[in-house]
Symmetry: none
Subunit: 411 residues, 2 copies
């Protein structure tokens, strides 16, 4: 009997023992009756998403959990562009971009334009549609100060450097974009982008929104910093490779970008905030509705990762308890023949404030899953669970085998 | 001290929880005092024969358990031919074949000639020795309606299509064989095979056995359907690679075919049926006799796989209990310095009625095997055993290292 799969991804879930939590990890410390019950009835293990000790980003982590390999990774730019809803074509070069603030000498004084949040769509529409030489500019705002820039034209390359200086202490020049390889396409792309940055400054510095911001004492969003150039490749859709229907419920652009690339239906709602205050009733409802018409439904719950980046152990505990409540809502109406997999895209230990290469806990629950002796779901229990220690692609193969979408080798 | 190895392969052993067995797997449900005692004194683990979540066939599963990799897999045809006892040469093209029934318009009306079981050797001898152009035809009957066809000659290719239409609803034309690649060798092979199929029809349609069948109201075996073309490659023998003497006790052609390819001595007997009624005393005697003069003796016990394919949980329980009785006979007379490994070539969950990518349980028992805390042998206990979760080739390396046939790397 073919199974359907709900893959619940608690972003950044994995952690390390924390002294303020009695030497426990946030997942060990949190009250998670639903997850513990599922562990009791199912099997647990730990997963090295890419490999032991190798940290991965949210984008690559989700790509692997959807069935891709490292070689399929197109760079952050194309993923953000896809997440922002820009229809990309192979050969486009995509960048992640920040609205930033420069002074009259073009020195960067804030990499995030005072963390601008409002009305960036107005700035984006002033940039979108520009043309430099024979290259068309596509541009779309993303969350807060973030945006996505696309160069579309012939003979472009992603082998160029970032304009973003990344770390600034006081006014700092932005970086001139340079080709990384000695090829006409890389030289052309660097030249176009350097020109474009100045033109965008000209467009933005007298933009009505920035005049308004100046009157309010806010930093103007009068410059663009770019990074993560990526040539948009032809990535086959996972749904085409394996022949199934997939969907992903998420709030965040990065995850939604990977979702679209994989051929899954992106499902979101304005009440899904990508934080601890997200609407878990809506999230559960979207998952349960999607599993009726899809074979595989992923769901991203972002809050544990944010708390890890903020080094907020108790916040991470609260985020995990909310995730447990979300799982309770899903479990209560779980259809027959459906397996739930709970894991993370990577660990985000509070003490590190960044992603780490620590393995993530895994829980499989549902019809056909063998039982082991695990009685709780946390890093410690899962490390001795019956699924053992596997790689991300092995988890995906296992799930796709329960869906009966794998191909028998030999005869 | 070099060990000898007895590798007991319970075909298709691995399963999933089954509600009619109180939520246990057949192996968990079965009474297996011998295996449990061995687990108690030895170590257990779980094995992904090729990789987690990847189903494998019996042929590839056994090839891996004998020490081959996926790239050595020659296709089903050469394995069946080897199993049927045809002495193959590199460059031969081997096919799996069915005796079938066609009507006067050459439309296939039964792909298995009424599941003919008797006297197919008479038909085979009428085909064996034919010659088309410069190509010699080798042919041998296998179990029931099955047979093996070999084309031997210069410039042949396995890049051709099947003549078997696979699925028929009412009278259906057989498929003309076509080259898959545009090469003279493939075109020649397709031409020869298309001619041969018509000639075989001419030979068989008036064969005395078919006249006899017609009088009994049975469908005549008057045609041949071919599939699974495979060029016989030069596969080095495992016994040559590692320098030991091996044997395999089995009833089934596929397993015996792999056995011959690996350079092991095939050992069988008419009372070994490949089913639950197999003669376990004879099987144990053959194993114990073979281990006196061989370093490595494999043994296949087919019944659990058949019960899995039939979705017969209680039948699988009985098959496993019979396997336990067989192991008791072997254990009672186990020579010194001999390790027993118990595992499976793949899982065949009853509910799936097919091979799955679920890992298989593993048990190592004998002098030099480290003890773990496992007290029983089943999927659940083994998933938390001291051998951990390993791949098929890692198990083989472990066994061959106990035989001291591995090569130290470095110095």
């Amino acid at each position: 009997m073919q199974r359907k799969i709900i893959l619940a991804i608690a972003d950044g879930l994995g952690d390390r023992p924390i002294s303020s939590l009695e030497g426990k990890t946030p997942l060990e410390y949190a009250q998670t009756p639903t997850l513990d019950q599922m562990a009791n009835e199912g099997s647990t293990g730990i997963v090295d998403i890419l490999g032991a000790g190798i940290p991965v980003g949210t984008d690559l982590g989700h790509m692997i959990l959807f069935g891709y390999g490292l070689n399929d990774y197109p760079g952050r730019g194309p993923i953000e562009a896809s997440g922002a809803g820009l229809l990309l074509k192979p050969g486009d070069v995509a960048f992640r971009a920040n609205f930033a603030t420069v002074d009259d000498n073009l020195l960067v004084i804030d990499r995030r334009a005072g963390r601008i949040r409002e009305k960036t769509a107005q700035l984006a529409s002033a940039i979108h549609g520009l043309r430099i030489e024979d290259v068309d500019i596509l541009f779309k705002e993303a969350t807060e100060h973030r945006a996505v820039l696309i160069l579309r034209g012939d003979h472009l390359s992603d082998q160029i450097t970032d304009s973003d200086p990344k770390i600034i202490h006081g006014p700092t020049p932005y970086r001139q974009v340079k080709p990384i390889i000695q090829e006409a396409s890389a030289e052309k792309t660097a030249r176009i982008l350097n020109k474009l940055l100045l033109i965008i400054h000209g467009v933005l510095k007298n933009h009505p929104l920035n005049i308004e911001r100046a009157q309010q004492g806010l930093l103007p969003a009068n410059f663009l910093l770019t990074r993560g150039a990526g040539m948009v490749p032809t990535i086959p859709k996972i749904t085409d490779i394996y022949g199934f229907k997939g969907a992903c419920v998420a709030a965040e652009g990065t995850v939604l970008g990977v979702t679209r690339i994989a051929g899954f239906t992106p499902l979101t709602h304005e009440s899904l905030t990508g934080n601890i205050d997200t609407n878990i009733e809506k999230k559960a409802a979207l998952v349960l509705e999607a599993i009726e018409t899809n074979d595989f439904v992923a769901m991203n719950f972002k809050a544990p990762d944010l708390m890890g980046h903020d080094n907020n152990p108790l916040g991470k505990v609260r985020a995990i308890e909310r995730f447990d409540a979300l799982m309770k809502l899903i479990l209560a109406k779980l259809p027959d023949h459906t397996i739930i997999a709970v894991t993370a895209d990577h660990s985000t230990p509070c003490e590190r404030r960044e992603h780490s290469g620590d393995p993530v806990p895994l829980l499989l629950f549902g019809p056909g899953i063998r039982k082991d002796t695990s009685r709780a779901f946390d890093e410690s229990a899962a490390s001795q669970g019956g699924l053992g220690r596997i790689k991300g692609y092995e988890l995906v193969n296992t799930l796709y085998d329960f869906m009966e979408r794998t191909k028998k080798q030999g005869n």
